[in-house]
């Protein structure tokens, strides 16, 4: 029973950051810019956040809780800033969007690794490639957390999980209920219609890609806080691609994507707990770690045929074309 409860707790702690990254992917793709760069965005966002957290805990007397929130905000900004590079390549320079995504990922890994060792050398005198983070505090909801099994949902919650839920709601509202969201979806489905209705396709897309980077950055920061307890190149574990896969099952819609991400989280944590339950040596965790990836492939086999990506995704907007 204990195993199932920790599966739920850990699964949510992984699934929700994954969801916010997938949400980032949705925002970019719905606006018509193919986004394989989620991996790079989340890493860069986490890098900026972790950098700020390290500096703040070194130079200021702020508590670790405030630092956590500031780091997440910094991750949002850092991710958005880095994403503007992808936006620039895809929208201004008409580069191939898949290539641009790959380029952004490669550059992200290289840049953050290089900068981390430079900054560490500058701050601490040793060029290590990681920023150690304070572990985040966790809390439990009284009463609700006492329910057997399902109470695990309310136990040992990371503060960012609540934040992600709030953001998820807000961005759902932004996408489906506001003028900006309408423009965003239009520029992904039929950019010429948006143009003739007086919208600005390029600006809408640019903003969406930046938002996408910001959201992915938050996801990366949360993973750095929960899974790794540090920022290091090991943040590039491929979770950004996992988020893209989740987005594809979710058919580019926010609510289904949410459930897919939670499912991924539970599957991953479940595999890990299964390994513990069967009392296998820690070597075997390597095998169980493949579960989310294999699941992704298997599910894609069933769902890819029916998927409907935004119609204009991947095509640079050309005013003169009809």
């Amino acid at each position: 029973m204990n195993y199932i409860e920790s599966m739920i707790t850990d699964g949510l702690a992984f699934g929700l950051p994954l969801f916010i990254m997938a949400l980032g992917g949705i925002f970019s793709e719905k606006s018509g810019v193919t986004n394989l760069a989620v991996e790079g965005f989340q890493g860069f966002g986490a890098f900026v956040g972790a950098f700020l957290a390290t500096v703040l805990s070194l130079k200021t007397p702020l508590g670790s809780q405030i630092i956590l929130y500031l780091a997440i905000a910094a991750a949002f900004l850092g991710g958005a800033l880095y994403a503007s590079l992808h936006a620039l390549l895809c929208i201004r320079f008409d580069a191939d969007q898949v290539i641009s995504g790959v380029v952004i990922n490669i550059l992200g890994v290289a840049l953050t690794t290089f900068l981390t060792s430079q900054i560490n050398g500058f701050l601490f005198g040793n060029a290590s490639n990681k920023f150690i983070l304070d572990s985040s505090f966790r809390f439990s909801v009284p009463l609700l957390s006492n329910i057997p099994i399902l109470g695990a949902v309310f136990r040992n919650i990371y503060p960012f999980e609540i934040l992600i839920l709030i953001l998820g709601l807000y961005f759902w509202y932004l996408m489906y209920k506001t003028r900006f969201g309408m423009h965003l979806r239009a520029s992904g489905e039929n950019p010429h219609a948006l143009d003739s209705a007086g919208g600005n396709v390029r600006r809408t897309r640019f903003l969406s890609v930046m938002l996408s980077g910001g959201l992915s950055g938050i996801g990366g920061m949360c993973i750095a806080y929960s899974l790794l307890l540090q920022y290091s190149p090991s943040i590039y574990l491929g979770y950004g691609y996992l988020a893209i896969a989740a987005m594809i099952f979710g058919n580019w819609n926010i609510v289904p994507t949410f459930f897919v991400c939670i499912f991924f989280g539970l599957a991953r944590a479940g595999g890990y707990q299964l390994c513990l339950f069967m009392k296998l040596s820690s070597r075997y965790t390597d095998l169980f770690m493949t579960i989310p990836y294999i699941l992704t492939l298997v599910l894609l086999v069933f769902f890819s045929k029916r998927s409907h990506p935004p119609r204009a995704a991947g095509q640079p907007y050309d005013k003169g074309e009809r």
Binding site: L36, L85, L89, F93, D94, A95, D96, V98, I99, S100, V102, V103, N105, I106, L107, V109, A110, L111, T113, F114, S117, Q118, G121, A127, L237, G238, Y241, I244, A245, I248, R283, Y284, D286, L287, M289, T290, Y293, I294, T296, L297, L300, V301, S304, K305, S307
Partner: protein, 395 residues
């Protein structure tokens, strides 16, 4: 200024050609004959400029740094050498790493020309290297049997993996980027598990080294008094580049590959079997990646670090893009990128910049290469505008 009448356009545009430095520059970029050479060169110059600025910001002399990259790769003489090694040894060490890079770039190019992004090169390299290591590398077969067998295993495993991805794409419409990435991680974890539980060397924490007879690099060969490691891979790689160039340019199959790559629907309409074509080109792409894998893991490193995908799988994309996705271009591009990657440790020891800067330079190069098409288009637009203006003056 070019002499009148002898334009670089090869006479495509008639009449008076616009003059001046900017026009000349633009014309060089759009030129049919030299465009595929000048655009990458322009990207390289931009990269050198930007990384030069970066080095200046770090307080280093960019020229000294760039020169030490060359020194580290055996293209220029170092200040001092150890006993029995010299510039030639460095150069062969450079070839040793250049070979898998070129093969991996060719793998990407073949997929790319048929419109498929093979991001799974790292995984295909790892699995073929791993299987060749455990099947042949740990056996005591003589070299004359072992080496061809290693190559065959590399090609076979890579082709199977690639074909699998192509099939998933064709049959189930799974985007190859997502599927290859997933397969990459699965391979990395599974091989990591096997290495850690069976083949690990307790001291180095990586897999046991494979036998000398199966290794694709001849170590400690004496050439002109220097001890060198001569890689078989470089010969295979250059040969592969020529063959790929021939297939793409001169055969029906290659034509169909390019047709599918440029416009899938048009190819379908004109009777090309698109599905078969996709699976086949992914297989060839995987085959080349498998060759890259064995020449990397059984030539260059001779051991496998568990759970680590080599960064070459991604760097090769940079190489391919820089070489304008032409096999011959890739030969030059892989030399350039390998100079940065391979010379990084020497540069780091002499100039004192972290060696990761090599990856940053590669990344920046990739960034500019991705904009290559845009540079060209800008130049075209500029020329058109100039021509229109001149036409207007005449009228």
């Amino acid at each position: 200024m070019p002499p009148r009448g002898k334009t670089l356009e090869g006479g495509r545009r008639k009449g008076k050609t616009p003059r001046g430095f900017r026009a000349l520059f633009a014309r060089i970029l759009v030129s049919d004959r030299f465009g595929h050479l000048t655009v990458p060169l322009f990207c390289i110059l931009l990269t050198l400029f930007f990384s030069g600025i970066l080095l200046l910001l770090l307080g280093k002399n960019p020229l000294v740094s760039f020169y030490s990259f060359l020194q580290g790769s055996g293209f220029a003489k170092k200040a001092s050498y150890g006993n029995g090694v010299g510039m030639l040894s460095d150069f062969f060490a450079f070839l040793n790493i250049c070979a898998p890079m070129l093969l991996a770039a060719l793998a990407f190019i073949f997929g790319y020309r048929s419109g498929l992004f093979n991001i799974g090169i790292a995984g295909q390299m790892l699995l073929s290297g791993f299987l060749a290591t455990i099947w042949v590398g740990y056996s005591d077969l003589p070299g004359i049997l072992a080496r061809p067998l290693v190559l065959l295993i590399g090609m076979g495993v890579g082709a199977l993996l690639g074909g699998c991805v192509g099939f998933l794409k064709y049959r189930f419409n799974i985007h190859e980027v997502v599927s290859t990435i997933m397969i990459n991680y699965i391979i990395s974890y599974v091989t990591g598990f096997y290495i850690n539980s069976r083949y690990v060397n307790q001291i180095s924490r990586s897999s046991n080294v494979c036998s000398g007879a199966s290794r694709l690099t001849f170590t400690k060969v004496n050439i002109a008094g220097y001890s060198c490691s001569v890689p078989l891979g470089i010969g295979i790689a250059v040969l592969a580049a020529l063959i790929v160039q021939f297939i793409l340019k001169r055969t029906v199959f290659g034509f169909e590959v390019r047709a599918v790559g440029s416009n899938r629907n048009a190819a379908l309409y004109s009777g090309v079997s698109v599905g078969r074509q996709m699976v086949l080109s992914m297989m060839i792409s995987g085959l080349l990646a498998g060759l890259a894998g064995v020449s990397y893991y059984l030539g260059y490193t001779n051991t496998i670090i568990p759970r680590e995908l080599c960064s070459m799988g991604y760097d090769s994309i940079a190489t391919a893009l820089l070489g304008s996705s032409s096999p011959i271009g890739a030969v030059f591009a892989s030399v350039l990128i390998t100079i940065f990657q391979n010379g990084a440790s020497y540069m780091s020891s002499t100039v004192g910049v972290a060696r990761e800067i090599a990856s940053v330079i590669t990344g920046v190069l990739l960034l500019f290469s991705a904009c290559g098409g845009y540079f060209r288009k800008r130049a075209e637009d500029y020329l058109k505008k100039l021509e229109d203006e001149e036409g207007g003056e005449k009228a």
